[in-house]
């Protein structure tokens, strides 16, 4: 191929600034074979949309349908743990193809429609107010610790009817589950600890809701077992998945979005002029500009031609939201943060039949947070300029975001 692109996506430079690296790939080799990890890297917006909407060509069962060892490589003595991971991940509804995926998604889809989530907006608004009340006097906060983490954990825990006192423990387990997108050689241990911990934690909750169903979301999942869409293990795994997915990515939206406003004072001023009116489009631009999820994987179900390359059956294919959302062929001035951008066909939530189930929930939380910040605070300064990101190719996660105002 002769293209001088280095293939290590876990270097500190690429983790700190994925946009330069994936942007170069998008310009020079938009369907790129990564030699180091042996998967295809898809970076253009139109290719990503095409790929995600042709689910029959690209399987989402990326653990079940992939007999190869994990990448990056793991400790050989941990291959037994990896089998556990495959079995666990394989039962997530998002890791299924049609027709099973549709049966599973139908169980949970109705809970997450825009109309039903609008009913949660007052609860979200009140929770944001309480969290900001607690820090306002102090003149400083860690956006991650004081706002972006507690808010979505609180909301998803309330939806699931999980006891309030358990929230810190859920977050602890969630942090272990995040090793799924990382490269450490010994990551299987914390990852499986998180998975086993989640199953153990949600089992009695699920038992209880099967016996006494309520209007909470665990009861909805449990009803999937009665309908024959889920096995018991699938109910447990998907309850854990939604506990995790229901907050982790939203944390990133809230932190990355707040940081984007700090880095673009003109856009912050625009938001402050009309917080209520501007919050909706502003949230979309936050989702586009510094997306919570960087990339997701599929497995080719047959040989597929893309941009003159042949993706072979069973090849791993990773599509990069972070580069598609900065594609100049789709977005005018793609590297500008413009909170009035419309239309804004970003792919932060993916596309097609697997489009993020919780998209509307994330939107509601983003809108309420950015609106409240603009209503209540003059502006923010970052305490420490050297911001660090988690070394993940899946998530765009800051480690912390300490700010002050005045």
């Amino acid at each position: 191929m002769g293209i001088a692109l280095q293939d290590d996506m876990f270097t500190p430079e690429v983790i700190a600034d994925p946009y330069a690296y994936y942007g170069r790939l998008r310009d020079q080799d938009p369907v790129h074979w990564n030699e180091k990890y042996e998967f295809w890297v898809v970076t253009r917006h139109d290719d990503l949309v095409w790929l995600t909407r042709h689910h029959e060509l690209f399987s989402s069962a990326v653990f079940k349908n992939d007999p190869r060892p994990p990448y990056p490589a793991i400790d050989e003595s941990d291959l037994g743990l990896y089998d556990y991971v495959r079995n666990y991940q394989g039962d997530q509804f998002i890791q299924h193809d049609r027709p099973d995926h549709l049966d599973m998604r139908k169980v949970v889809h109705g809970y997450f429609t825009p109309k039903s989530l609008e009913e949660w907006r007052p609860f979200v608004r009140k929770a944001v107010k309480h969290l900001l009340d607690a820090v306002e006097e102090k003149g400083r906060m860690d956006v991650m610790r004081d706002l972006a983490t507690p808010l979505p954990v609180l909301v998803i825990a309330a939806m699931m009817g999980v006891p309030e006192a358990d929230r810190p423990y859920i977050r602890q387990l969630a942090e272990k589950l995040l090793y799924i997108g990382r490269g450490e050689y010994d990551r299987m241990k914390p990852l499986t600890e998180g998975m086993k911990g989640m199953i153990e934690y949600v089992s009695p909750l699920v038992d209880e809701r099967i016996a006494n169903p309520g209007d909470d979301f665990i009861s909805v999942l449990a009803s999937g077992e009665k309908q024959g869409a889920f096995t018991r293990h699938q109910v447990l795994v998907n309850t854990s998945l939604l506990l995790l997915a229901g907050h982790e990515t939203t944390i990133n939206l809230l932190c990355n979005g707040t940081l984007s406003f700090i880095q673009h004072p003109d856009q912050w001023a625009k938001l402050k002029k009309d917080p209520e009116g501007a919050a909706k489009l502003a949230t979309e631009e936050c989702l586009r500009y510094d997306s919570p999820v960087k990339s997701i994987q599929r497995i080719a179900t047959q040989d597929v031609e893309m941009r003159g390359k042949t993706l072979k059956k069973d090849d791993r294919v990773r599509w990069f939201i972070s580069s598609a959302n900065r594609d100049p062929d789709m977005f005018r001035n793609p590297d500008s943060f413009d909170i009035t951008r419309w239309p804004n066909q970003h792919v932060a939530f993916g596309s097609g039949i697997h489009h993020c189930l919780g998209a509307t929930l994330a939107r509601v939380e983003g809108q309420e947070v950015f609106k409240a910040l603009a209503e209540r605070f003059p502006g923010f300064r970052v305490e420490n300029e050297a911001l660090e990101y988690q070394p993940s190719i899946t998530f765009r996660s800051l480690k912390s975001l300490p700010v002050h105002w005045q």
Binding site: R53, T113, H355, L357, A359
Partner: protein, 74 residues
Amino acid sequence: MARNLRIRVDHNVCVGNAMCETFAPNVFRLNDDRQSEAIDPAGDSEEKILEAAENCPVSAITVEDADTGEQLFP
């Protein structure tokens, strides 16, 4: 007598989630770009059509009474 409906799918926001096709399969069909189109506004019952619109995850579907212009969804 069922009333006549006007159904629109906004292609600036449709992501091809295909839930509309599941709820009202005779009304909505994905096109070559895998975005939804209302091919027959009388293909399914009004109830099914409104259910399809409500289950669109990105609120891309609007439904009106074609004769009076009354908006039925959202």
